[in-house]
């Protein structure tokens, strides 16, 4: 059974077609590199895979069932913009996620250490650099053991040293029989096992 399965799905916003007749499946062990020009519908596809958006036509199933809160909890999503509260410190942002996910707060220390933010934990997210904010957003994914990771431009803003964080996250997920989708404008994602190419909302 695929982790996520999309069948003949289309999304329209008003009369504008964003995605058209997509059929694809994400199975255990898949690392899919989602490519396409700006406006191709990559972020919309990720949101649909995350169960945050229903298709206008067609179907989406997550872990063999209709998208719902239980299935969404098994998916880790890094959106295009980090989901941090600017008035909270990086540490408090992660503590909030840990509390809501029901994981021990000690994992926050480990996650901050893993992304190299231990020394900046007391910095407010609004005062942190773009790279630090992106690292903190990735650290969020280390708090919970997800079965699927959906990473939208997760490399954006990261320096060369931190670029390996994304690969490490993907490896960790795959070791747990998970699957990943990575949206990236990079010229190559060496660790991807397959490529999904979108153009004007259609699979190429």
């Amino acid at each position: 059974m695929p982790h996520i399965e999309i069948t003949d799905a289309s999304v329209r916003i008003g009369r504008v077609p964003i995605l058209s007749d997509l059929t694809l499946a994400l199975r255990s062990g898949d690392v899919a590199w989602l490519r396409g020009p700006n406006g191709a519908g990559k972020s919309t596809l990720l949101r649909m895979m995350a169960g945050l958006m229903r298709p206008t036509d067609g179907q989406v199933s997550m872990f063999g069932a209709a998208p719902g809160p239980a299935a969404r909890k098994r998916v880790g999503l890094v959106a295009h913009h980090p989901a941090l509260y600017e008035d909270l410190t990086l540490d408090e942002n992660l503590q909030l996620v840990a509390e809501l996910a029901g994981v021990p707060k000690t994992r926050v220390d480990e996650a901050l250490e893993a992304v190299g933010l231990s020394g900046a934990r007391s910095r407010r997210a609004g005062e942190a650099s773009e790279g630090m904010r992106r690292r903190a957003d990735l650290a969020r994914l280390l708090l919970v053991d997800h079965d699927v990771l959906l990473l939208d431009e997760a490399h954006s803003g990261l320096d060369r040293e931190a670029g390996g964080l994304v690969e490490a996250l993907v490896e960790r997920c795959i070791r747990r029989q998970g699957a990943c989708v990575i949206v990236s404008h990079a010229t190559d994602i060496t660790f991807a096992s397959c490529t999904i190419e979108l153009n004007e909302g259609r699979l190429k």
Binding site: P69, L77, A79, A83, Y85, E92, V97, L100, R124
Partner: protein, 222 residues
């Protein structure tokens, strides 16, 4: 995780953010006090008139603060943050409850600071049983908070949300603030506040139920 625990976490988050930014307290409270101070200057020096309009002015200023809280709620939480909460499986009704509770606490603090100013400026001698204001103030804070949170949710998917949400609060608050004003008038005339208070309880409960029931469908449409 239980509904209550999720709501408590959201409540703490909102209060912590307000504690850091101080936008509501350190900006709106001084303006509320200035507004109350300026109104008597624009009126003839007539203590009877001032004591009559004072309670009404208090509710108007509280309503303005409620609108500001709503504005913050509708503008402060980004779509990425809302989506993060959905991905974590936070019950939309718990999110509504936590946000409304945080707003109610901020409104209560506001009332606590502004009410003594109202008594001093408008009716120092004419509010004999002013402690009876307490239940009315709590109900008004709770009511404005649930109305504001509902307005923020109703407009969340609209591009004009940050302007529309606070403006929606004013008409929706009429059934709450009319009995609140009547309650203060009853205290002034030494009548009971039971009927206005019961009316306010009914309004608070009705809006809270609507907010909790519609939280999930509203979240899914955004």
């Amino acid at each position: 995780m239980t509904f209550r625990k999720q709501a408590m976490i959201i409540l703490r988050r909102d209060l912590r953010i307000e504690g850091r930014s101080g936008e509501a307290m350190f900006i709106t409270v001084p303006f509320g006090l200035v507004a109350l101070f300026l109104i008597p200057l624009a009126l003839p020096l007539n203590t009877e008139l001032l004591s009559t309009i004072g309670p009404g002015m208090f509710w108007v200023v509280t309503l303005l603060f409620g609108m500001f809280i709503t504005f913050r709620q509708s503008a402060a939480e980004s779509s990425a943050q809302k989506e993060q909460l959905r991905m974590l499986g936070v019950d939309p009704a718990a999110r509504f409850t936590g946000r409304a509770a945080a707003s109610a606490m901020l409104l209560l603090v506001f009332e606590l600071i502004v009410a003594p100013a109202m008594i001093v400026l408008f009716a120092p001698a004419a509010v004999p049983g002013w402690l009876a204001v307490t239940p009315l103030a709590i109900l008004a804070a709770a009511g404005l908070a649930v109305i504001g949170t509902l307005a923020a949710d109703l407009t969340a998917s609209l591009r004009t949300r940050s302007a529309l949400a606070p403006l929606l609060v004013a008409p929706l608050s009429v059934p709450l603030l009319v009995p609140a004003a009547q309650g203060l008038e009853s205290i002034r005339t030494k009548n009971g506040i039971l009927i206005p208070a019961l009316f306010m309880v009914a309004v608070v409960l009705a809006v809270a139920v609507i907010g909790v029931v519609t939280a999930q469908p509203l979240e899914e449409t955004t």
